[in-house]
Point group: C2
Chain length 436, copies 2
C-alpha cells in the first residue's frame, strides 16, 4: 500500500487535533482512500506540555525546519499562524517541492499572491479549507461543487467570537464589554481580541472567498471593514422590533465592473437563514447563477472541527499523490484580472440610524431636513419612551440611500447642538437588494 | 489545451440544463480547470422539441447508444432515469471504459452493487452528486470533506415534493389531497407522485448516503419507509402547539452493531435547523465525530440546480483525466462489511398519538390502561374542544417507548369499540435522542 508522509508544524489546539485524527483514524482513512497517511512529525517549540497523544519515537520534535528539510515528507501542515516564521516555513516547504496545508487566513489574505505564485511555479498545492469557517466545506464547495456557476454573491457569518458576543448581547442584554469578557472567560475570544471584534479576521476570510469565487484578486486594503464594538443592547432591541437580527456579515457581490466586498454589522430579517445562526457557529450563503442560494452551516472554530478540515485537505493531496495526479486543482495567482473593489462610498442600501437627540420641539424636523437635502428618504421614524432628562433615542429606517450621502448627512447632523453623541449607523441587508 | 469529450443521454429538463452550462460556461470552466470540456453529443428520442439551445452540427442525436459507442467520448452523462435502458446504457458505457455521471438514485439504490462493481473492475467512475439533494454538495462533503470523521448520523429533508406539500398544509391549512393537487399544478409533483409521497425516493437517497457514510451496504428492503399521505392539518396544528414542525425525514444513525435507517414523517422542534426548511428546498444535517453537526441547505431539484451538480461531477472526472489521475476516488462495492439495519420494531423514540375516540367517560383510562400494560409511559394528554356529536381527537405525547410495544398497544386500542378510526402515530425526533 502506498504511503504518504505528513509533518505537522505547530502543535497547539488545532495541530493536536490533526495529530489525533491522523493517529486514531489511520485505519479508517486507509480503508477509505486505499493508501496510508503517516504522521512523520509533529513539531512545536513546546514539547513538554502533554497533548494526550502517544507519539511514536522521533515524531514529536522541537525544530519545525527539521520537518521541512526531511526529503521524505510529502505534505507540510502549517499551523503556527502569523506571518513571520509561518511564511518562511511555507516558502521553504514549497521550494523543496512539498505540498502545504494551512489554516493561516491572515498570511494568505496578506501574502497569498506571492505564496500561490511560488507554489504554482513548483507544481505544488497550498490547501486552505481550514482557514475559513472551520469544518464548513466552503472552499471545496466554491471551487469544485459550484465550478459550473458564476458566483453572484457570498454572505457569511465567519467569526465565531463576534457571533458569540452578539448572541450574548441579544439573549442576555449584556453590554458589548461584558459580553466580550464572558467570551474571553469561556474561551471564545483571545486575550487580545482586536483581530476578531474589529472585523479583520472576517475580512481576511472574505478576501480569500472572493478571490476563489471570481477568479480575481481582491486586495485586503480595498475592503471596507467595520467591527462590532459599537453594537449596543439598545440597537439589538430596536432591530428585534423591526424583525431583524444584527450579525457581523462578510458580504461579497459580483457586480458588472467591480466587486463589492465589505465587512460590517448588518441587520438581516428573520427570514434570512443566517439570522438563526447563533453562538460560535458560522454559516455561509453562496448564490450561484445555476444553483441559486446554498447555505452551509457548522462549527467555525475549535480543535476537532478545524482539524477535520485540515485532514480533508491532507487527504485530497494524498489522493493526488497516490493516483499520480499532477496539479489537479490549480489555484492560480495572479488572477485572470483584477477589477476594482466598489468603494464603500458608492454602496447603496437601506440604513438604520439611531440619533441621540435633545428632547425638544423641532429636533425631528431639523434632522429630517438635513437628510432630505442629501436625498435620503425616510421610511419610518421610531421613538422610545421619553426620559425626564437627557437625550432620547430617535430611530429612523431609510429607503435605499447612497453611503456617501449618508456619511455627509450624518456628519452634518452630528455637529448640531441638539445632538448629544455620535449617531449609530447600521446597514440593513435586505433580500430585495440581492435582486437589484 | 487538453480536451475532454462528454455525451449527455436524456435531454429532458436536467439534461437540457447540463447542455446549457457546458455550452454557455465553456470558457469559464476552461479558465477554472485549465482544460476544455466539449459537449460531443446530446441524445434524446425526441429531437423535435426546441430546447432553446444552439447545438453544433451532429451534436443533437436520437440514438443514445451512438454516444456510448463513440470511442472519443470520455464521459457519459446518463439522465434517462428509470432502471431499464438506463442500466443497459450505463453498463455498456462502463464496459467501453467510459466514466459515467448520473442523477439516477433509483437505479443506484437498487442495482448499485453490481454497477459499482463493474465500474471498479474497469477502473472507471460512477459519479452521482446530482442524485441526492439537487445542487447540495452532500456526496462530496461526506466523501471528501468529512473523510477524517466517523459519521454518526445523517438527517435529511430530501424530497422537495413532500416538503412543498407539508409546507402548504401548514401554511394554508389545505388537506393532503388539495396540497398534492397544488403541487402538481405548480410543477412540484409528478402526474404519478407515488415514489415521492410514499417516501420511496427519499429511501433511495438515504440508502446511498448511508452506504457512502458507513462504507457498508444498506439494502433498500431493510429500510422502514412511511410516506406523508396520512398527514392532516389537524396533526400539523397539534404539532405547532407543542413547538414542533412535521417533516418527512430520512434518518440514518450509526449504531454499535447495526445502522438505523428509516424514512417517515417526524416532529422536530423549532430549534432544529431543519425545521425552517420550507417549500421545495432540501437540507441535510450530518454529524461527524470531529466536526459535530454540519447542515447543508439548497434547491433539491429543478433544471439548473441539478445540472450544476452534474457539471461538478463532470469537471471532477475531467480534472482526473487531465491530471493523469487513476481511480482517484474509489467507491467500492461490495462494502467492507454489511451490518444489519435495525428493524423498525427495535426503534426507541418519543411518540405522538392522536386517537379518534368516542366522547364518553372512561375512554381515557381505557386507552391509558392499554398503553400502561405495554410499558408505554405518557408524558402529556391533550384534548381539543368537544364536538356535540361524533369522535373527539385525544392527543398523547409519550416518553421514550419501543416501536414494537407501540404497534401492539395501538393495534389493541384501535380494536376497541370506543375508537372510531385508526390512530395516527407520528414519531418525534428529539435532539436528546441524538445524544443517547
Amino acid at each position: 500500500m502506498k504511503e504518504v508522509k505528513v509533518g505537522v508544524v505547530g502543535c497547539g489546539t488545532v495541530g493536536t487535533g490533526v495529530c489525533r485524527i491522523l493517529i486514531e483514524k489511520q485505519n479508517l482513512i486507509e480503508s477509505r482512500i486505499g493508501a496510508s497517511i503517516k504522521l512523520k512529525y509533529a513539531a512545536d517549540i513546546d514539547t513538554e506540555t502533554d497533548r494526550g497523544i502517544h507519539f511514536d519515537k522521533n515524531v514529536f520534535v522541537k525544530d519545525a525546519f527539521q520537518v521541512v528539510d526531511d526529503p521524505e515528507v510529502d505534505i507540510v501542515v502549517e499551523l503556527i499562524g502569523g506571518n513571520t516564521i509561518a511564511k518562511d516555513l511555507m516558502l521553504k516547504a514549497i521550494e523543496k517541492g512539498k505540498h502545504v496545508v494551512t489554516a493561516n487566513k491572515a498570511l494568505l489574505a496578506e501574502e497569498g499572491k506571492g505564496l500561490f505564485y511560488s507554489a504554482s511555479e513548483k507544481g505544488v498545492a497550498i490547501a486552505f479549507e481550514a482557514s475559513i469557517g472551520g469544518c464548513i466545506p466552503i472552499v471545496k464547495t466554491i471551487r469544485e461543487s459550484l465550478v459550473g456557476n458564476s458566483i453572484k454573491s457570498i454572505t457569511g457569518i465567519l467569526n465565531g467570537t463576534c457571533n458569540y458576543i452578539l448572541t450574548k448581547i441579544e439573549d442576555e442584554g449584556l453590554s458589548f464589554e461584558d459580553a466580550l469578557a464572558m467570551a474571553q472567560d469561556n474561551g471564545f475570544a483571545e486575550a487580545d481580541p482586536t483581530l476578531d471584534i474589529e472585523g479583520g479576521d472576517t475580512a481576511h476570510k472574505i478576501c480569500l472567498l472572493s478571490t476563489l469565487s471570481y477568479g480575481t484578486g481582491v486586495d485586503l486594503s480595498d475592503v471596507y471593514v467595520e467591527g462590532i464594538t459599537g453594537i449596543t443592547p439598545l440597537d439589538i432591541e430596536f432591530a428585534k422590533e423591526f424583525g431583524y437580527k444584527i450579525k457581523l456579515l462578510a458580504i461579497s457581490k459580483a457586480q458588472d465592473t467591480c466587486n463589492a466586498v465589505r465587512v460590517h454589522p448588518a441587520m438581516i430579517s428573520y427570514d434570512n437563514p443566517l439570522s438563526s445562526v447563533n453562538g460560535s457557529l458560522n454559516a455561509i450563503s453562496v448564490v450561484g447563477d445555476a444553483t441559486g442560494e446554498i447555505v452551509l452551516y457548522g462549527y467555525g472554530a475549535g480543535m476537532m472541527p478545524t482539524a477535520s478540515a485540515v485532514i480533508s485537505d491532507v487527504v485530497d493531496i494524498a489522493r493526488d499523490l497516490v493516483s499520480g495526479a499532477m496539479n489537479r486543482l490549480a489555484f492560480s495567482f495572479p488572477p485572470v484580472c483584477t477589477p476594482s473593489v466598489l468603494p464603500i462610498n458608492e454602496l447603496t442600501t437601506n440604513y438604520y440610524f439611531r440619533f441621540s437627540a435633545a428632547d425638544k420641539p423641532g429636533v425631528l424636523s431639523t434632522i429630517a431636513g438635513v437628510l432630505g437635502r442629501y436625498g435620503i428618504s425616510i421610511k419610518s421614524v421610531h421613538q422610545k419612551g421619553r426620559k425626564s432628562k437627557g437625550p432620547v433615542p430617535i430611530v429612523m429606517l431609510t429607503h435605499k440611500a447612497r453611503e456617501r450621502d449618508v456619511r455627509q448627512a450624518i456628519s452634518e447632523i452630528d455637529s448640531l447642538d441638539v445632538i448629544d453623541s455620535k449617531t449609530v449607523i447600521i446597514r440593513i441587508e435586505s433580500d430585495q437588494e440581492e435582486q437589484e
